[in-house]
Point group: C2
Chain length 462, copies 2
Amino acid sequence: MSYLEELKQALAADRVTTNSAVLDQHSRDESYHTPARPDAVVFPLSSEEVSRVMKIAGKHEIPIVPFGLGTSLEGHVIPYAGGITMDFSLMDKVLEIKPEDFLVRVEPGVTRSKLNQELKKHGLFFSVDPGADATLGGMAATNASGTTSVRYGVMRDQVRDLEVVLANGEIIHTGNLAVKSSSGYNLNGLFVGSEGTLGAFTELTLQVYGIPEMTIAGRADFSSIDEAVSAVVAIQSAGIQVARIELVDAASIAQVNAYSHTSYPEVPTLFLEFHGNEAGLMQDVDFARDILSDNGCSNFKFEKDSLARAQLWDARHNLAYAAMRANPGKKMMVTDVCLPISQLAGGIHAAQEALRAEGLEGGILGHVGDGNYHALLMIDVENPEEMAKAEAFNRAIVEYALSKGGSCTGEHGVGIGKAKYQQLEHGNAYSVMQALKKTLDPQNLLNPGKLFYETGNSAAMQ
Amino acid sequence: MSYLEELKQALAADRVTTNSAVLDQHSRDESYHTPARPDAVVFPLSSEEVSRVMKIAGKHEIPIVPFGLGTSLEGHVIPYAGGITMDFSLMDKVLEIKPEDFLVRVEPGVTRSKLNQELKKHGLFFSVDPGADATLGGMAATNASGTTSVRYGVMRDQVRDLEVVLANGEIIHTGNLAVKSSSGYNLNGLFVGSEGTLGAFTELTLQVYGIPEMTIAGRADFSSIDEAVSAVVAIQSAGIQVARIELVDAASIAQVNAYSHTSYPEVPTLFLEFHGNEAGLMQDVDFARDILSDNGCSNFKFEKDSLARAQLWDARHNLAYAAMRANPGKKMMVTDVCLPISQLAGGIHAAQEALRAEGLEGGILGHVGDGNYHALLMIDVENPEEMAKAEAFNRAIVEYALSKGGSCTGEHGVGIGKAKYQQLEHGNAYSVMQALKKTLDPQNLLNPGKLFYETGNSAAMQ
């Protein structure tokens, strides 16, 4: 019996497909990486079904790629080795909300916006906000973060337990419901960020937060990126707890204005948000205002009103879509490096230098409170010269970040795009990672060619 | 050449000893677990020396136990299999403080109080406070936490990078200096809490915090533990950010009074602390006062004064020593389970029930904001009947915690004492942990018999 026949018996015939349009939908993510189609797509309904798929794949040595919504930015879900793509869109239930424990249990296909809709009824919210309306399974797989991580932490910090189906079809739980534990090895942390290379997540228990008593957002204009970054460092050194602190450069503000019909001054801008009780917030905001002003902020505007706040963050979040709209036919390369805060200004300068050196145009933006910045380039992937320049730029900023004790990716993950920097970043620890992979996936069937650099994946566009 | 001769050549003759008194010092921790002597103790000065020791141990198949100060509570550092104890007391330097990045780089033998002395000059502090003045290497090995974790997180949350010497003598770095990273597997998280079973830590880069603008501590008296726990849940549900929230039962307050010459009312008591800016704090404290009162608090007293605050926390921290003083000749068993907050009151009731059922006396205390409580029993380890009762009590509360989605240890770690509950707690994930251990320590020489249950360690007192 072929593996497809076995899959159809193990699931249901209508949830195993080789339909060309469906294969196409699962051939790409939101990045510039070259598409590649899987041989089949399955839509499991339960961990038991996922386990059956794993066993069939193991028996026939077929690669498996878990798939959420395809919003990844480094080609994580592109099945370069073919095989089965496991689409979790039918496992999209919020299973349980436990307000007293600030916990929620969800299936991996739930998106963060759907979760937040459900949580709102209980006065709760889920903090991780990577911009895209990704699935929670995908966000756990890449250790996503985003605008609010400076205050609430990254995806790994929110995961209390994962149900994981291993390569051999075994089902495990990586954690428990307690706030903390010193019992056994930290499997939660190991599986979060493993990008589908160690197992497929079939259930997540996540920490959530009470909606803060008060939220104030604001926009601060600067005449240079340097001043804006100094202001961020000064605010953090003063111990002011910001909930978000985002840098957007002048070029990107121009694209935001064009796309979102806003009229923000087209200068380097910080978008800020503060969460807390009213008295504490007002003191923090006053203090922050002084610090911003001391660091060259020419104009700042704080918004308590929820509509004005929403407009502000929509503008920030639509940046990638604005860039895509402005560059039809091109594809997006969003670089993503993270530096110690003290090295951030230098890192951004180096990025601007590298852009000039390659003759490229790109917007600089990022989660500067975490030392994480992006350069957003729209590139013509059919133009080998432009691709080579973009790759050279990418390598330059990664090497700069690593030389300063940073990381080649703060939040987008490794996927195919950053696999080639793993040895450089991790040194001897890279062999430890390879050994762990081999232990848990001895046939190398789980998202092969991702996270680790293989001769096979060097052929693919990286 | 014997392995001792090789060690003397690899280090220096005076840093390799088989002196009986030194072996005795390394035969025990602060717990009730039966002592056992190593065959030799070495005092390395550098990661290179640690690497040499590892290679010699591997060649001769000699077990190795890393040792900080011996403050562990589950027998972690007791070398039941003999071999080499690697004492890190000579690697006790604070190597670098980076105030702008809120980072510090230390050797593993630095104690948390020594670190805090150094940090104070920079307006910074290290948050994890397990009570004992443990070494930072030991605290990372057990994923220690303590009174402040409810606000700042546990040891794992503070570790940005570890330098680790693996069983084969290879030296790796598990992380970097950036605030966040999605690059490769999360080795930081895996090695923190690995209790010396995967490698020896030779350097730690840790996150530190700015000393808050203002700190207010307080004491709230209740007539029942139930009311005190309800108050904790209510304070957290209200979104008030407490920096510490500790429960101490009436019996323990009596021991505190006797030991610390205080005169606290001998009733169930919450010790609280709040960190923040003045305006925010005053609003939080007022709100907390109302909630405490609504939940049956009969008397509360807040202290802004640093001396009064220090006295309060000294009293809390001296609890274990108070119990030891009050029970000469006995040894301390501090149970340590963690529950989802919603299950905490039930868990404490079950513990009180189990104490009564076994006819034992014990104080109940704990980090209730994390759902983590301890029962502190002083036991006569020479009395088999008393030991059996204590073990039965321990098993009862662990099983209760696990049945409610909790963990068999919130902060003390597994060591020898909780090894027998690992299979029950982790199910199929336990075999994953065993596979990881085998991958990184194929000869099972690194702290053998700890964290994993082995026939060999069942003979030792657990």
